[in-house]
């Protein structure tokens, strides 16, 4: 057991999985000698060679598109998009090809591939590097979407993603790479998809989040506990599959809920969560469900990003409102 940050946990998992399964290939921009712009693949090319850790030309569509072919050939590609924002350049391959190939081929060609992509704010990047685009991808049937919020889950969910016969978009929160640290066992383990994690239990309000927003939600909950508001915090871990039962159970206990995400509000995944709660736990609800999201604007210039992202203060405010205090 060691305390690792998220990028260390990811690097370690990639190394262990590659050692375990010779069919795994890494593909991406600057992932070889440079070890990835965030060092997620540092040392892997040295260890596994240039044939298994491949620096790709600067073209996301061909990184993902070639992964489809590699997977069809029997390999297990793990592609890295340097930033999720540049997944748009590969979107037709992801949504139209990766996600549907099993269906199109009626089971002949599964796509056991993983697309890793850092995203999310609070690290002062240029435009298009921080956008939380997960909602664009969850609407691509055939694709699974993982959103780890801790180093433990980064390792367990990535190992699960690599071993899953379905394609997985694995989103890594930029701000967690170095700042989120927790205990990660050395032993082999996986975290199953579709099982949300109860970060903290509570009786008044359920706060539902994923990825880096979990940290914000947990901090808001901790601060409100001192004021006598008891919050449960649920980390969804994967958006597809969605742990519908955990949502229903937590809301059954609290009767009140707030969803927090970094993406813009309109048609963000929060809308799906709220619709699901409404279907599964309507009769438990004591108040309208709140949501704290980014605004319906493009991701702003870095100097004002803290006003754009859900802050602890905004989350606390929403919880208080849902709890009927304001």
């Amino acid at each position: 057991m060691a305390v690792l940050n998220m990028v260390e946990a990811i690097r370690q998992t990639l190394a262990d999985e590659m050692a375990r399964d010779g069919r795994i290939l890494l593909l991406g921009q600057d992932i070889g000698r440079n070890g990835g712009v965030f060092r997620a693949t540092d040392g892997l090319q040295e260890r596994f060679g240039e044939d298994r850790v491949v620096d790709m030309p600067l073209a996301e569509a061909v990184i993902v598109g070639a992964s489809v072919g590699l997977a069809a050939s029997g390999l297990r590609p793990v592609a890295e998009l340097q930033f999720l924002g540049f997944g748009s350049q590969a979107f037709h391959q992801i949504e139209g090809q990766v996600a549907r190939m099993r269906f199109r081929s009626q089971g002949r060609y599964g796509m056991p591939l993983v697309i890793r992509a850092p995203f999310g704010g609070n690290v002062r990047t240029p435009e298009l590097h921080s956008d939380a685009h997960e909602a664009k991808y969850v609407n691509s049937p055939g694709l699974k979407v993982a959103m780890p919020a801790s180093a433990y889950d980064a390792r367990g969910l990535l190992a699960e993603a690599i071993r899953d016969p379905d394609p997985v978009l694995f989103c890594e929160p930029l701000r967690g790479y170095r700042r989120i640290k927790d205990e990660v066992p050395d032993a082999d383990y996986t975290v199953p998809f579709g099982q949300a994690r109860l970060v903290r239990d509570g009786t008044d309000v359920a706060v539902i989040a994923w990825s880096a927003a979990v940290t914000v939600a947990a901090e808001a909950a901790a601060q409100l506990a001192a004021d006598g508001i008891s919050c449960a915090v649920l980390d969804l871990r994967t958006l597809v599959p969605l742990d519908v039962r955990a949502l229903a159970e937590v809301v059954a206990r609290t009767g009140r809920a707030v969803v927090v995400h970094e993406a813009p509000m309109t048609a963000g995944f929060g809308a799906e969560v709220i619709a699901t709660i409404q279907e599964e736990a309507f009769w438990s609800l004591e108040a309208p469900i709140g949501r704290v999201t980014a605004y319906d604007t493009p991701y702003p210039i870095a100097s004002v990003e803290e006003h754009y992202l859900p802050s602890i203060e905004r989350v606390k405010h929403a919880i208080r409102r849902v709890a009927g205090e304001v």
Partner: protein, 361 residues
């Protein structure tokens, strides 16, 4: 100003067009592509760019400026190409490493700084400054340039468009689609590919198997030229030729400017992880600024005294821009919403009003 006749290899775009040698001596039989007065003005812009990069680097290290990508090493490539345009009618569609081309078109250092210091208004070009915003989504600008050239022509304007992109960006599908369309429509576009050796850490050899990007033009049905990107005169001459073709309605040109990124990719990058120090030294010896300086001195257009004076002037220009940008009113959270829509939907307007709610500072 008759340029030397291009050799067959040059014409085949596999050997770069070179005019001014690393020692600042013109190749035998070549006339200078620019008069000494014009070359001095271009040199001034090159030196301003270098001066700016150095200042901006130290500001970034002090936390007064965000991440930025220096031009260092590519000054002849950017200035020489921009110099071939007429800023009053021609357009620049940049990637992000073309500061002096934007300045040449009329954008200001103060605005560049303002943006890099975190105020989005710095990214707005004033009316009459024919430049599209810098592009972060690599290669996305290249189709824009084709549409822009097409649109200007459609409206009867005698204008051409230069778009800049890197060896890395050249691998994106957008570049292929844009070049194909430009060939079909004979758009007045100059595709200016700056091959600076790297895309972040990825060397050109991992980007392409071709010996010259310029050769790609043949597949699109228009000419390609390969030029020594550290040679102001050669870059100017080749771009000038492309501008003349565009003006004559003969369509696009692809120019590969072969240069070298002497600095890091940006202020967050550590090039010691991947740059071969020998290779770096060999390119430092080909510094584009050194060449023009040597030529200007040999022409008597520059000497120690006038260069000291010029450097002081440029230092002052940069310092004034920094002071002006730092004195500019601080960015406001409300700017998150400004210019998102011309007519904001009610929901967005309500979000705008809520900024500041719950002390979200």
């Amino acid at each position: 100003m008759g340029p030397a006749t291009a050799t067959a290899r040059e014409q085949a775009a596999v050997v770069p067009v070179t005019r001014l040698g690393p020692d600042g001596v013109l190749a035998p039989g070549c006339d200078p592509a620019l008069s000494s007065a014009e070359a001095l003005a271009a040199f001034r812009l090159m030196l301003l760019t270098r001066t700016y990069d150095e200042r901006a680097f130290s500001l970034q290290r002090q936390g007064r400026l965000g991440t930025f990508s220096p031009v260092t090493g590519q000054e002849a490539s950017v200035v020489g190409s921009a110099w071939a345009l007429d800023p009053t009618r021609d357009w620049v569609v940049p990637q992000y490493r073309e500061l002096p081309a934007m300045l040449r078109q009329g954008h200001t250092l103060e605005k560049v700084l303002l943006y890099q210091m975190g105020n989005p208004v710095g990214n707005r070009m004033e009316e009459g400054v024919n430049v599209l915003p810098i592009q972060i989504s690599l290669a996305a600008q290249v189709p824009h340039a084709v549409g822009l050239a097409w649109g200007l022509r459609h409206q009867g304007l005698d204008a051409c468009v230069i778009t800049y992109f890197g060896d890395g960006a050249s691998s994106e599908g957008d570049v292929h689609e844009a070049m194909n369309l430009a060939g079909v429509r004979r758009a007045s576009v100059i595709f200016f590919l700056q091959n600076n050796g790297f895309a972040i850490s990825t060397p050109v050899a991992k980007q392409t198997a071709t010996e010259s990007f310029a050769l790609r033009a043949a597949g699109y049905g228009f000419p390609g030229e390969l030029v020594d990107g550290n040679d102001l005169f050669a870059v100017y001459e080749v771009t000038r030729r492309a501008v003349e073709r565009a003006r004559a309605g003969e369509g696009p040109t692809l120019i590969e400017s072969r240069t070298y990124r002497l600095g890091p990719h940006n202020t967050a990058d550590d090039p010691t992880r991947y740059v071969d120090p020998e290779e770096l030294r060999s390119w430092q010896a080909l510094d584009p600024i050194v060449r023009v300086r040597a030529w200007l001195r040999s022409e008597g257009a520059l000497d120690d005294a006038s260069e000291v004076e010029l450097q002081a002037e440029l230092d002052g220009e940069v310092a004034r821009a920094v002071a002006a940008a730092e004195a500019f009113p601080k960015v406001r959270p409300g700017q998150i919403f400004e210019h998102v829509y011309a007519r904001p939907p009610d929901r967005v307007a309500a979000q705008w009003e809520s900024v500041g709610e719950a002390g979200s500072a």
